[in-house]
Symmetry: C2
Subunit: 459 residues, 2 copies
């Protein structure tokens, strides 16, 4: 292990999971490689580190975050709980199943703050370019210290790419959009519903973004929300004020025309048209080239680049599981880098990947997809000592969540679930989600009676 | 010259000037080096190539353009005319002195279309990284073909950086901005006034952007426009509906507070807070590090990187002169690359730069600044065979323009000037600028009588 060096690109949930995985060993007295984590942003948390900025950041790099105000978890927190750091351990009391962004950020940060992982992270530093040298089997990274406007190079034995894949917008062209008079933005640049109050809003897409931004804008006072889908509508029962229409064909001024021949006037457009996997710092032969799916090709066990397993990708899948999946991946990656886990030969790895891809191609709907990713998680858990958790029970919760959403898209966040890590049953939030316009940690964590006192004072 | 290779980064006015400069020689039968021009966008024209996109482009690269709808030249076209390709030659008839964006784009394109320069340009290609090798004195460029998602490297003897400096926003933080409920954008992402109709708009800054976006929004129906300046107001006589206030100190919700203790409620904020010189593809020791000023340090004659003159920067100055200055620079750069122009030694170059910088530091107001840049242009013109033009007369026009703006910021674009290239007096535009809401080339070029016929038809 001595003298080996590991570079991690990104200090979001995946990159931090990798740091945490090594730290878990170190705490047990094991010597770990020298680790450097490069983070473009000023702080850790990746996507969960909210920024008001859009476009490019303070130093002119594309803004990483797609996060917006009033974002509440859109899945039960019990489905993403770290199995080595429970919500109970962090908050010291039960909380609801669907916390807002600041609360989840606090949780992510809580685990990493307990370690001295911060010393491994170089903030405000972006990876400009990576060269892999076959002769000495090392990666040379060109780094750019954005704050100091200074570039330098360093060599590493392993490269962990944990830069996420919900940062680079995919933004198709629609005829006439250049003459649409209102604002046009990608969901990546959406920072909250306030500016759409009393507006007729067109959302293009039927992904989580479309669903969530649509519901938020409805909740926070948009006059109407219209979602335009390409192939299939989201199809839940929408309240009055939200509707789904077929694919947008073109714009004429502020009028949008749809594939069913209908048309409507809009004030603003938000494109919820997804994201691209983008790795500008990598030569293309090392780039993961994939659409967003549950099992990207090219990576064995979803993490090891098959052409060069010292190149490791974390969190590049489409996701039901999130934090706990990144952990499971990071622990496996760690064991490989520690030379504790030996990978099979390339063609065997290829065969394993092909088996998964075959199953992926035959998935039948989202319940089946949950099972697929659950089995993937189980496979990962079998390979490392990341604390086991009841994956089948989590899968059940995911399915319940899918049902809840279908039943009522406006109230599913009022439901509660039971932790598979601690057995704790979540609290009901003190305020119904549709009535809760404040997403601050302070308000969220206030006890029911405190909120009531506040309300009385305010009257 | 044989076997020498020149890389040009950017096919905007500066990069195209460089191509045109070599082409002028080639037409005379001179053998020129092998030239490759790399352009990130799908088309040439740089800043003048309008895109509806904001943030990042189709392939996830930061959008180059800061261009918006209804942008009309904010200086007389007679001050930027190519001296080897007149407006008369292009349009075959006199036009007004302040054309809109599509008309200027047409003009830029007109000259370059006459050549076969397109064959030198690799579109949709960005420069990822540059290494300079002292041993063989060559630049290695890592290029990224965005459309094909393919990277490759090539070696060059000269590197011409013509990537502009009005692309990377400078966006300061103001306390409370993260809670401002309305839209917040940088001028770089402004695409036209329409979305601000009937809104109370706050513009931060007192640059050309603030002035021009403010007047456009006023013209196109904003309820009110407030410009907040840092040190000095623009100070012209504003119409009712536009005003200047001191520096923004902070936001409380949708209320902006200013340094004079006043405060006001706004619907949206546009930061006209300038741009950064940004060269992410260059190692920092080759980066031009400068604020926007009329004579950036580090570059001899405003173009040759003093530490390494084979590295050439075009158009990196703050600009009164534009297209004709880029030309004058490109012709000088060409002669150096052709080994027709020999540069003095490094310390002599340093002394020359210091002399200019000394003068720069003692400039007294904008009339003096015009003279400064005029003298810089004359210096360049003395060094190459770029067709001479009457710089003193152009300087006079700039001064007249400054006075016109001070006299009436809403009508200065109705004035006309006389070309120093052809002696042609500009036509008055068929419609007063404040009444002209259509910036299309078709309408602009229509004869007065055609417009009248159209108007009659519409009635």
């Amino acid at each position: 292990m001595k003298n080996k060096r590991v570079a991690i690109i990104g200090a979001g949930p995946s990159g931090l999971a990798q740091l945490r995985a090594f730290e878990a060993l170190e705490k047990n007295g094991v010597q770990v490689p020298e680790i450097v984590c490069f983070e473009k942003q000023e702080n850790w948390g990746g996507m969960w580190n909210y920024s008001w900025r859009t476009g490019v950041g303070r130093y002119g790099e594309p803004v990483h975050g797609s996060m917006y105000k009033y974002l509440w978890s859109n899945g039960p927190k019990e489905c993403l709980e770290f199995s080595d750091y429970s919500f109970d351990e962090h908050f010291k009391k039960p909380i609801s199943s669907y916390p807002p962004r600041p609360v989840l950020f606090d949780y992510i940060e809580g685990r990493i703050k307990k370690s001295n992982a911060k010393k491994y992270i170089r903030f405000n530093t972006t990876a400009r370019w990576v060269d892999y040298n076959n002769a000495n089997q090392k990666f040379t990274l060109v780094l750019d210290n954005l704050k100091e406007n200074r570039t330098y190079s360093e060599e590493f034995d392993y490269l962990v790419v944990a830069s996420g894949h919900f940062s680079t917008p995919n933004m198709p062209y629609f005829k006439g959009i250049e003459d649409f008079p209102g604002g046009v933005m990608h969901a990546h640049d959406f920072r909250g519903a306030d500016q759409f109050k009393n507006q007729n809003l067109l959302l293009i897409g039927s992904s989580y973004s479309a669903e969530d931004i649509g519901v938020q804008c409805y909740k926070h006072g948009a006059k109407s929300v219209t979602l335009s889908y390409r192939s299939n509508p989201i199809g839940v029962e929408w309240p009055d004020g939200i509707k789904e229409v077929p694919l947008l064909t073109h714009f004429e001024g502020d009028i949008a025309h749809f594939a069913d021949g209908t048309s409507e006037k809009f004030d603003a457009v938000v494109m919820c048209t997804g994201y691209q996997h983008k790795f500008p710092f990598l030569p293309d032969e090392l780039r993961l080239k994939t659409k967003n799916n549950l099992y990207p090709d090219q990576v064995y066990k979803g993490i090891f680049f098959n052409e060069l397993p010292q190149l490791i990708y974390l969190g590049m899948q489409d996701q039901y599981y999130t934090f706990n999946m990144f952990d499971a991946q990071a622990w496996v990656a760690r064991d490989f880098m520690m030379e504790e886990l030996v990978l099979p030969e390339k063609d065997q790895r290829r065969k394993d990947m092909d088996d998964w891809l075959k199953r992926l191609n035959n998935l039948d709907g989202c319940y089946d997809a949950v099972d697929f990713q659950s089995d993937y998680i189980k496979d990962l858990l079998s390979l490392s000592d990341y604390p086991d958790f009841n994956v089948d029970k989590v899968a059940e919760m995911f399915k319940e969540w899918l049902g809840d959403k279908e039943e009522n898209i406006l109230t599913y966040r009022d439901k509660t679930f039971t932790s598979v890590v601690t057995g704790t049953k979540a609290e009901e939030h003190h305020t119904e989600w549709m009535e809760e316009l404040d997403d601050s940690k302070e308000r969220y964590l206030a006890f029911q009676d405190e909120v009531e006192i506040e309300l009385e004072k305010a009257e």
